[in-house]
Symmetry: C2
Subunit: 296 residues, 2 copies
Amino acid sequence: MQQIVECVPNFSEGRRPEVIDAIVAGILSVPGAHLLDVQSDADHNRTVVTFVGQPEPVLEAAFEGARIAARLIDMAQHSGEHPRMGATDVIPFIPVRGVTMDDCVQLAGRLGQRMGQELDIPVYLYGQAASRPERTNLPDVRRGEFEGIRDSIGSDPARDPDFGPRRLGSAGATAVGARAFLIAFNVYLNSDNVEIARKIAKTVRHSSGGLRFVQAMGVLVDGQAQVSMNLTDFNKTALHVVVELVRREAARYGALISHSELVGLIPQQALLDAATWYLQLDGFKPDQVLENRLTA
Amino acid sequence: MQQIVECVPNFSEGRRPEVIDAIVAGILSVPGAHLLDVQSDADHNRTVVTFVGQPEPVLEAAFEGARIAARLIDMAQHSGEHPRMGATDVIPFIPVRGVTMDDCVQLAGRLGQRMGQELDIPVYLYGQAASRPERTNLPDVRRGEFEGIRDSIGSDPARDPDFGPRRLGSAGATAVGARAFLIAFNVYLNSDNVEIARKIAKTVRHSSGGLRFVQAMGVLVDGQAQVSMNLTDFNKTALHVVVELVRREAARYGALISHSELVGLIPQQALLDAATWYLQLDGFKPDQVLENRLTA
């Protein structure tokens, strides 16, 4: 089965199209890197690029994007609403198919080392790739932003990068890491009572005692109660487990699920897991899917 | 989205490996034809080849297989348990993805015409491609087998082929057609009572009043009651509809589904349909599956 890694680098440029185009062109100059999405925001002055491919070309393409961003973006001149610390602000590797989290942690380490050595950029490993527990969460790594890190990196040992120099140049610093695929998933109830959606959200989300890899809130959308969720690791907290818990909790308040929606993309595996669970297909193998034979 | 057609030609040779190899090599000589399976049976003296690809290469590869079979197999010398009428006995085209049944009917017509003209083989269109209602079912087309058709094709207008000559050479005649993908699917009950499986089979199968595209029987497998089914058109009778009807009928007799199994391959769409139905993902589009973006 074909291996697929997703990479979603964030660059500190959302206003100059020629710079954004040059970075994207650099990424796509690597054969085997497939672009899925580019989103630029002028207020944030930031661009999020989503691309996928097999591990080696994805690693190479991420390096190319960072190399060009470092040449074209001067962090000393940068301003924007979104917190940022580098021309390439953050690079997560995300396992999609035939690749483990450990594989992505290793990719992060290799990219970090190259960026430090060849681009002279301080790199902090974060997420699942973090070398220290206090660097797991990106906001903690980025605290103080470009200016704060520039002023403390040489003197504060807590600011020592995993790779690269203990000083910030015009490209700033970059967080490189690994995380699970995030699924944005909303469930609508046959109710206009947002309180029911809020109660369900409280039950299912991790922060208030629910499922480990679920963030949730209850909102009203066009007069319909909605449980809006991020599933932050579908391999560990499955989509169908979330739906069935929402369904059960809704019934408690006399409500039913009217429909649900995916925002954006989803790895095939998340839907195959749901299908095989509901159909009780014990022993199902992904290579029983005809199309998966063609990409083998 | 990539177009995929499946083709499952049956050849009247299951004993001479050098002939089977030559036919398969001919099919695979066409770039874009991907082999999924080859099954030979010496008693039946027959080989079933399964391959897939985009429509044009699949058409070309089917022709290559038939051309080589016609050269290497002499039906006057052939014997075997399975009914047969030609060196290439039957060629069905099956829509898998991004292709309609009409597309496959057209492929059947184009292949039939080429086989008639270039290989001088009588071709009968069958299945969804049949030109006469009495040719829809393959056994009706093949009635009398090679010998019976050879003796009547010149005189009986009911035997007039759709393409090619009104006489049989050593390659015999071929049925070329289009049909839906067949899913072999078994449901196991938490019961050793085969009568319950038989009652469920009777309720769900088309022949005794059940769902249009379901064949079913109740059997005992290793002491466990099983509903054994063929789903002959999952686009019209969905997998999840079958499972939920089996589940409901089983409950009537105090039984539950313990698990189910797929025998062989399944198109991705059948499982995506099940996932989106159970998860109530109204508005889901197949190109929201990340992997489907890569084959676009």
